[in-house]
């Protein structure tokens, strides 16, 4: 059954703050084979003008996608979660995520479409730091595959 268009534009309450740790950034950078010292060495980060080590560009997904679970599991929306695959992902960085950031995410449903029986859900996650500065905007497209189509 197609999702209710009335949910387009709906925002969910901001998440509790996620504190970005230096060792978490290091662990993530190593897991993607990234050895740029700007992720692990504070002095190297400072030399590039950052106050502390910065996270690789896709690091923030763990935070934004965790926030998107509020949308995915909203019983009123009724998305068939077992059939969901990740369609598209985009990050717009207003500045790099860095160690010490305390980030909250506000998720908004940007679009709902139905295509060949698939439900397609576009979620925007606005990631703010403690001062209220917008750090990253994460755009996530989820596709709930039709029972026949796959």
């Amino acid at each position: 059954m197609a999702l209710d268009q009335a949910f387009v534009g709906r925002s969910y309450p901001p998440t509790d703050p996620y504190e970005v740790g230096r060792e978490k950034i290091r662990e993530f950078a190593e897991s993607i084979g990234e050895d740029n010292p700007v992720h692990t060495d504070r002095e190297a980060a400072r030399a590039l003008g950052y106050p502390d080590v910065i996270a690789p560009p896709t690091f923030v997904f763990a935070i934004s996608f965790s926030a998107a679970q509020d949308v995915v599991h909203d019983p009123q929306l009724g998305l068939d979660y077992d059939r969901v695959v990740h369609g598209d992902q985009r990050f717009v960085h207003h500045r790099p995520v860095r160690a010490g950031d305390r980030l909250t995410v506000t998720s908004t449903i940007e679009a709902i479409k139905s295509l060949a029986g698939n439900d397609i859900l576009d979620i925007r996650g606005d990631v703010h730091d403690e001062s209220g500065e917008l750090v990253v905007t994460a755009f996530t497209k989820l596709v709930s595959r039709s029972l026949e189509g796959s």
Binding site: K24, E27, F28, S31, N36, L48, H86, D88, R90
Partner: protein, 150 residues
């Protein structure tokens, strides 16, 4: 110019033109790499480490995290730019799963990229289009990055 505007990319805007190719790279992804990424990212979906489960949901075998493919491809751009913080906009479509066999080689993701457009002479931003393949087939679609150069 804000305090967050990176000036630190090692590639100068003036030195690139439409069509400039970035150094291509290959990224081997073994099962071990997937387990490591699962831990670092918090994505423990068993399709990324349990072949019985993967087959039960209709996959050929264990597949790589789409976000790991996305993160690997980004390294072609961030290694070129020198400063990962210079990547200000990055988006991909997950078009085909990367199957990772349980052997020493795993899967290989081959990534090439080139400057598709010079966007803004003042902001020194360029759009880079990426191509990521595994076994000769595209695994990412519409993979584009906006990079702020020096």
């Amino acid at each position: 110019m804000t305090a967050h505007t990176p000036m630190t990319a090692k590639v100068a805007y003036a030195d690139v033109e439409k069509g400039t190719e970035l150094p291509p790279r290959s990224f081997p992804l073994t099962r071990g790499a997937l387990v490591r990424y699962a831990g670092a990212s918090g994505d423990f979906n068993p399709i990324h480490w349990n072949e019985d489960f993967a087959r039960k949901v209709g996959l050929e075998d264990v597949i790589a995290h789409g976000m790991l493919t996305m993160a690997s491809a980004a390294r072609v751009v961030t290694d070129w730019a020198g400063d990962p913080g210079a990547l200000i906009d990055y988006g991909v479509r997950f078009t085909r799963p990367v199957v990772v066999p349980n052997d020493e080689q795993g899967a290989l993701i081959e990534v090439s990229a080139k400057v598709a457009a010079k966007l803004d002479d003042e902001a020194r931003t360029v759009r880079v289009d990426l191509t990521a393949t595994s076994k000769g087939q595209k695994v990412l679609g519409r993979a584009q990055a906006v990079v702020r150069l020096a």
